[in-house]
């Protein structure tokens, strides 16, 4: 009863307060107007000379008018963003745009693959899972577009001259970009809202269209940013000679490939984090089972995509060196060399987290104990590789420590700081993680094919041979000249890829119609595994931010490397400490926003307001 009265009172008080405030404004305005200086009443100006004050005011107004009319137009080269400066503002907005764009491009790729698996197998769970993934898309798409527009306006406002130059080179690509963007919106919303409304093949075709258009958008945008790093198709002064060359510059295709793989890995990890969030918030065993499975699939997508990523990175680095040795050396031996130690910590954590999740996951399968005894060996291998990879070439030390070591390089640890050791470590790390996957695949089932023992022996042989070959080349690298040593990374990478592909092919045939020895109890996994999934997602996001910084920061004081110089106050390269702070703030902002996306997506499952009121 009291509540109703209060509402009635508020209903009356609201307009009353408005009226009082309106009256107060009138009174204050009248008070101020009454005290304004006014010219005394005089005869018309033609008869009486104006007062000195009046003529002074008239002169001032005339001078101001003349000055305004004579003001020359000066084209601004830069404008300053308040407090944080233009570079940091652009950096944060661009990073947020790219993170959401990566997510929006990645999710349709694996949602489509899962949908196709569901269609082929007739298993409705896959269809439901793919739909669940796509729930995250629509809001993320809006945020991507919003940040894209924000970035464009910021570039025009803060870096007008440089933006104008980029437009002069790439303006023919803008119309296709916009048209593709419209097509992306069409496919995305039709794909999402049309779930279950069309024939499955029509829906799959919509998903394929969404992926094709999304990739097209990314390829165009990549041409702009890679041109800034490795410009081509222009004269010495920057005039456009060939748009085709400007698009297809040295780093365009490596970045395209690197980004597609990295986007899928990142998207998988964020989708797995969503599943983890839903798992932890689940009320029933059924929900837990579903989200455990979803988290597993998301993480599987992330890690499987992550394994070839270092190889795509090698290619990109190779092309950077091929374009400009200076750029390559700035990256690996100059201002950014220590950044790769931070990267090693991140990637080491990713491998540790991914393996730990798999090992925890073995617990949900009955009869997994025989495989769990291998975990300790895998852990030792991963930790050793991690330590080698994170060992810097030269160590930060005091003068006395440097004297004791006989130089800035440690007499023993210094051997682990060179590329021979690091290439070996990362390749063994990849092989070890692949082994974890193989062990996980074996839990709860036994191969029944007649050649099972031979097949497993061959797999073990290939794995062992690849590991020995990689280590042999790593050690051999210490005894040969630089010109030979650089080439050794190719056979190392090739042998690991060969091992992964050949063992996987054998595994597929080996486990056709296996004998099931234990049931997979989805949802029966410790809660800490879900926090590991979130940790992996945060690490992936942070890694994306860090590597985005090195790709862009590599140009140092150039907007377009070697062509358009950055003469703004932000032209310097900041310390790595500062860069990591900016990356962290951006990552936190991203997780606040993606948390909002998760929350919106989870509203689907809630009962509607009316039903909830009636139930209560």
């Amino acid at each position: 009863m009291n509540g109703v009265r209060s509402k009635q009172l508020l209903f009356v008080l609201g307009p009353l307060t408005g009226l009082v405030m309106f009256g107060a404004v009138i009174i204050v305005a009248t008070f101020l107007t009454n005290r304004e200086y006014r010219e005394p009443d005089r005869a018309p100006i033609a008869i009486v000379d104006p007062t000195p004050r009046a003529s002074g005011l008239a002169d001032e107004a005339a001078a101001a008018d003349a000055a305004a009319k004579a003001k020359p137009y000066v084209e601004a080269e830069y404008r300053r963003f308040p407090v944080v400066g233009s570079r940091v503002a652009i950096w944060a907005v661009a990073q947020l745009h790219l993170l959401f764009a990566a997510f929006v491009l990645a999710v349709p790729i694996f949602a489509l693959i899962i949908e196709v698996i569901g269609y082929k197998t007739g298993d409705k769970r896959y269809d439901r899972l793919a739909h669940e993934f796509s729930k995250l898309l629509s809001v993320s798409f809006s945020l991507t577009a919003t940040f894209g527009a924000f970035l464009t306006f910021m570039l025009i406002a803060l870096y007008p001259k440089f933006t104008n130059y980029l437009m002069s080179v790439f303006s023919p690509t803008f119309l296709p970009y916009v048209l593709l963007f419209f097509a992306e919106a069409f496919f995305l919303y039709t794909y999402y809202y049309g779930w279950g409304k069309f024939h499955p093949l029509v829906h799959i075709a919509l998903g394929a269209g969404l992926n094709l258009v999304g990739t097209g958008i990314m390829l165009i945008a990549n041409s702009w940013l890679t041109f800034m790093m490795s410009p081509r198709g222009i004269s010495d002064s920057g005039a456009l000679i060939s748009l085709e060359d400007a698009i297809n510059n040295y780093t365009w295709m490596p970045i395209n490939v690197h980004r597609i793989i990295a986007n899928v890995a990142f998207g998988g990890s964020v989708a797995a984090a969503y599943a983890a969030f839903k798992f932890l918030a689940a009320d029933t065993d059924e929900e837990r089972a579903h989200y455990d499975w979803m988290g597993y699939i998301g993480n599987f997508v992330a890690i499987i995509s992550f394994l070839p990523l270092p190889f795509a990175g090698y290619w990109l680095a190779k092309e950077i060196y091929a374009y400009s040795q200076t750029l390559g050396l700035t990256m690996m031996g100059g201002a950014f060399s220590w950044l790769f130690i931070i990267q090693a910590v991140l990637i080491g954590n990713l491998f540790l987290g991914a393996n730990y999740y798999l090992w925890l996951g073995m617990g949900r399968v009955e009869g997994a104990q025989p495989f769990q005894r291998f975990v300790k060996y895998l852990l030792v291998a991963i930790v050793l590789c991690f330590m080698i990879w994170a060992t810097p070439r030269s160590i930060i030390a005091t003068v006395s420590e440097i004297r004791a070591m006989g130089g800035s390089t440690h007499p023993i640890l210094g051997f682990f700081g060179v590329m021979s050791a690091k290439n070996t470590a990362v390749n063994i790390l990849i092989l070890t993680t692949f082994m974890s996957f193989l062990l996980y695949r074996r839990t709860g089932r036994t191969a029944t094919v007649s050649w099972a023992k031979t097949g497993q022996a061959v797999q073990l042989l290939i794995f062992g041979a690849a590991a020995v070959f990689v280590i042999f080349l790593g050690v051999y690298g210490y005894f040969v000249e630089a010109s030979v040593r650089i080439g050794l990374s190719v056979p190392q990478v090739s042998s690991v890829l060969f091992a992964m592909v050949s063992i996987s092919v054998i595994d597929i045939f080996l486990f056709r119609r296996p004998k099931l020895t234990g049931e997979v109890r989805w949802g029966r996994i410790p809660a800490i595994s879900q926090y590991v999934l979130i940790f992996i997602a945060v690490t992936f996001t942070w890694l994306m931010g860090l590597m985005g910084y090195v790709r862009s920061g590599l140009r140092q004081h150039w907007h377009v490397y070697g062509v358009i110089r950055d003469t703004s106050p932000d032209a310097f390269t900041p310390t790595l400490g500062f860069a990591t702070q900016v990356v962290s703030v951006t990552v936190l902002l991203f997780f606040v926003l993606i948390g909002f996306v998760f929350w919106l997506a989870s509203l689907h499952d809630r009962p509607d307001f009316e039903a909830g009121t009636k139930a209560s």
């Binding site: 490795s230 081509r232 040295y250 969030f277 932890l280 918030a281 091929a322 374009y323 400009s324 040795q325 200076t326 750029l327 050396l329 700035t330 031996g333 100059g334 201002a335 220590w338 950044l339 130690i341 931070i342 910590v345 991140l346 930060i396 060179v418 210490y478 000249e481 630089a482 010109s483 040593r485 650089i486 926090y531 979130i534 940790f535 945060v538 690490t539 942070w542 140092q556 004081h557 150039w558 070697g562 062509v563 110089r565 950055d566 032209a571 310097f572 390269t573 900041p574 310390t575 790595l576 400490g577 860069a579 990591t580 702070q581 990356v583 962290s584 990552v587 936190l588 997780f591 948390g595």
Partner: protein, 208 residues
Amino acid sequence: MTIPLPARIGLLVVLTTGFYTYVGQLVPQKEVQPPQETAIRADLTTADMVTVGRQIMEGKGLCFTCHTIGKSGVLRFPDLDGVASRAATREPGLSDVEYFAKSIYAPDSFIVPGFNPGMPVINKPPIGLTDQEILCVIAYLQTLGGTATVTLQTSHRYYTAPGAIPPAPPDEKAEPGEKLPLTLPPAQKGETPKAPAAGPTPGKKGEV
């Protein structure tokens, strides 16, 4: 007391990013400023040029990103200790100054055995050293195992000092080790000496 789920997840996200930020503070912190233009006064002595040359190599030239002085073992690029004594005899027919100039203006035309091509073109963007700055660098290099002799009036096949006799244009087809013409054609009065093209443009691999 149970911490609500969003708070637990938020804490994990904050702690993880905090940890990586902390790692970022542990590595050496260096702010790299854009290279400053070094003022080369016309009255610089050879000794002054050595000092300026060292500064350029440490800064704008980015030389020590790759090269070392007095380091042995596994190296990606040649160590410069004693380079002056090697430069005079590295290529038959080339003086130390000519050899240094060739290494800087056309770095891929001769590769030290055991190393890969990797030296960028120094007199074009993004590094873009001027001819005078390169003379200073040569002066400093001459002190690494020898004595500096160059002045701002020194000419070589890639640069003609103001008022000096312009040298013959570089023979780009010359094979490594081929003897260069030691006699120079006389300059025409009023002719502006022209610096010859220097090496490949970025991205194009030069002939070794």
